[in-house]
């Protein structure tokens, strides 16, 4: 029984990253990072999405919860989109009939200016 558990664990550890990689390749976006000078700045990006499905199917592309584009019986597609983002933004591919999430991709927003403050986490009078 111990050996069975061990083998299952090894199997899961090997298979899970492979599946994750396969899912990731279905949807890709370029560029993946936008650099702004200030933390709150808006990022204007010309994004290029590439969809590569294992078989023909109906899919829709979403920016967070907003629908951007749908395709019918598509296997490979590309899509250009002008995005305005100021935080890390998630893009996802869904099956419109079942609402199943098929793949995700994200773009990150990074600031060139180092953060100068952070939240204080202790009351100065904690000892007393």
């Amino acid at each position: 029984m111990k050996y069975l558990q061990f083998i299952l664990c090894v199997f899961a550890l090997v298979i899970w990253p492979l599946q994750a990689k396969a899912t990731k390749d279905i949807l890709s976006v370029s560029p993946k990072v936008c650099v702004v000078s200030e933390q709150q700045d808006i990022c204007d990006l010309n994004l290029k999405f590439t969809v590569s499905l294992p078989k023909k199917m109906d899919v829709c592309l979403y920016e967070q919860s907003q629908q951007l584009q749908c395709w019918q019986q598509v296997k490979v597609a590309s899509f250009n989109y002008k995005a305005h983002v100021h935080i890390k933004t998630l893009y996802s591919l869904h099956n419109p009939h079942t609402d199943e999430q098929i793949a995700t991709a994200s773009i990150d927003v990074q600031s060139t200016r180092a953060k100068t403050t952070r939240r204080r986490l202790r009351s100065p009078w904690s000892f007393f």
């Binding site: 403050t117 952070r118 204080r120 009351s123 100065p124 009078w125 007393f128």
Partner: protein
């Protein structure tokens, strides 16, 4: 690395602190922390230094060393370590101590002695020394607008009492006119091992019988106020109440609470 001249500002209301700088200030005034233990002297509060340093993830804040996983998130998880403050009631605070000056006079009248007849008459200066213990653990802060909800759990990593403690706290930062007010409500859970080490009695200390205290819940309420006078000077007021009524089984307790009160000036260096 530099010494800051932190300014009271809107940042103070949302508890922001500049990173990469030492924040050093000194409170000077009159105050007291009452000692609930028999034979324990109250601690007059005259000079109270504050020292804090925050880096992007690491921080040191008045005795607590920590590492924050996501400092900018509203959900901040930290690894933390600090000396267990329980020992403060067993220390005979000497004038040389940098945290406070002591005197033989209390600022309040001596508490009435209500000894339980079945309990031995023990005073803390007759007991073995309670050592300083180093605790380490996790703290979690959820920040919602002016409110901070926090939970923490720390255990003894120095092998002194071999127990643990945890707390839940709500704190709010509010501005009334020019005064910044910060009320807090919370509750500590302290394990049986912690209470037995600090507030129990060993067979060696009392040959008749050893006394165990068991775990306890200790609610507390605090209010901290700051009235800025200039960029570096402000008036400080602090009032705190810690309830020890669930530790009343300990023969060491004379009062079921400890109070801290302070009024003075704060100068930022």
């Amino acid at each position: 690395m530099s010494i800051s001249f932190a300014q009271p500002s809107e940042g103070e209301l949302n508890q922001d602190i500049a990173i990469g700088q030492w924040h050093v200030s000194l409170n000077t005034g009159l105050g007291i922390m009452t000692n609930p233990l028999k034979g324990g002297s109250n601690l007059p509060l005259v000079l109270i230094p504050e020292v804090a340093y925050y880096a992007e993830h690491l921080f040191f804040d008045n005795g607590r060393l920590g590492y924050s996983l996501k400092p900018d998130s509203p959900h901040v998880v930290n690894f933390v370590s600090e000396f267990n403050p329980e020992t403060r009631f067993f220390v005979d605070w000497h004038p040389a101590n940098i945290f406070a000056l002591t005197s033989s006079n209390s600022f309040i009248a001596s508490p009435s002695v209500e000894l339980k007849e079945q309990q031995p008459k023990l005073e803390i200066n007759e007991l073995d020394k309670r050592k300083w213990a180093l605790d380490a653990g996790l703290s979690y802060h959820y920040i919602y607008e002016k409110h901070v909800f926090s939970a923490q759990a720390l255990s003894d990593v120095s092998g002194v009492y071999n127990g643990w403690r945890s707390a839940l706290q709500w704190q709010m930062s509010h501005r009334i006119g020019e005064v910044y007010v910060k009320p807090s409500l919370g509750i500590w859970y302290k394990s049986a091992q912690l209470n037995d080490y600090f507030y129990g009695v060993s067979k060696k200390e009392n040959p008749i019988e050893a006394i165990a205290v068991g775990s306890s819940l200790q609610p507390y309420a605090k209010i901290d106020a700051r009235w800025p006078l200039s960029e570096v000077n402000s008036v400080r007021f602090h009032l705190a109440y810690y309830d020890y009524s669930t530790s009343a089984d300990s023969p060491l307790f004379e009062k079921s609470y400890s109070m801290t009160a302070f009024l003075g000036f704060n100068h930022i260096f």
